[in-house]
Subunit: 183 residues, 2 copies
DNA sequence: GTCTATAACGAGATAGAC
DNA sequence: GTCTATCTCGTTATAGAC
């Protein structure tokens, strides 16, 4: 896995195109045109189209794993808050990668390509729910988890947007942290 | 547009396959195999692959349009509640169709196929936000709108699930309806 | 390391027999 | 109304020259 200029540029262009048109919707032709090289050059640097995607997603997956590992060291309430803030932060920093992983099919996490990601999101979702097994709490956690990811993916804002960050954290806390349930 | 037995079966099989593997991930071959006919038969009944999808989505799109039209007759607070309950109901009844429309790309609503859907979801989102133009309120509305749709799409529950329905409505109201904002 | 050329395949769609 | 056969195109991937 040697790093070269072309190789890096392929990753940049592929990220851009995958983000906008999806993995299936982007061909090697498209990537090659964006880079200004041939398809053969792409496949000289990467074993396959999937290999490009896997490498793009790797750092985000690693950070997600780190976050989840950290959450397991906390008790429920602290883990809930840390999960919310950590996930919002993560998904804002890795918008593109999040969009790549979520390709629109329900079983997107069950593809062999992303094996190992599902247990991470499950643990994260449990943390969002404050480790409660109550159905409503779990549903709420799923709604917020998916909703936050979706909004972050949609936003084409480039640099860190603190206002968006705060809005996402706030809505999640409002929806999930219920100090005095009504009845 | 004459109704026949084969035609209806094509729609059923296509809905099933599109839901599980996405539109791009399903070929005419796959549909033909499921129906037990040839690709040519598919294209005798439908002008194109897209035409199948368009017809599958049509009733859901119509109901969404009806809901949005109804919302415009209400003032902000009533529209907000009606939007939440109406959307949850709609998306639970049309899980499959929702999954078809949302193909995973950010611009899925901007495809020519679904032209006219975007203004509807924009109005719906505004209703979710209580017609507020505050950034945080808009972000929260987007999170809940997308999150609810995502959860409903993921759930493979068949018949009406009142518990899920209540959970979705509740989390949305908790997150969006803020009678006394903190400061 | 990059290219052109092409293989090998699958896609959507069409033609025409039955 | 359904079929087989075929067309055309785009896809991923490979071969081999430079």
């Amino acid at each position: 896995m040697v790093r070269t200029r072309t190789r890096d540029e392929i990753l940049v262009v592929a990220a851009e195109l995958f983000t906008h048109h999806g993995f299936k919707g982007t061909s090697l032709q498209d990537i090659a045109a964006g880079v200004g090289c041939s398809k053969a050059t792409l496949l000289y640097h990467f074993e396959s189209k999937e290999a490009i995607l896997t490498e793009l997603v790797a750092p985000a997956a690693q950070e997600l794993a780190d976050l989840v590992a950290y959450l397991t060291t906390l008790e429920a309430a602290a883990a809930q808050e840390a999960a919310i803030e950590g996930f919002v932060d993560l998904v804002l920093r890795y918008r593109r990668e999040a969009a790549l992983i979520y390709d629109g099919t329900p079983q997107f996490l069950d593809q062999p390509m992303f094996a190992g990601l599902r247990p991470l999101t499950d643990t994260l979702c449990a943390a969002f729910a404050g480790r409660s097994t109550d159905r409503a709490a779990c549903v709420a956690a799923e709604v917020l988890l998916g909703g936050i990811a979706g909004v972050a993916i949609d936003k084409a804002i480039e640099a860190g947007d603190d206002e968006l960050r705060r809005a996402l954290v706030d809505v999640a806390k409002r929806a999930l942290i219920t100090p005095h349930p009504k009845d």
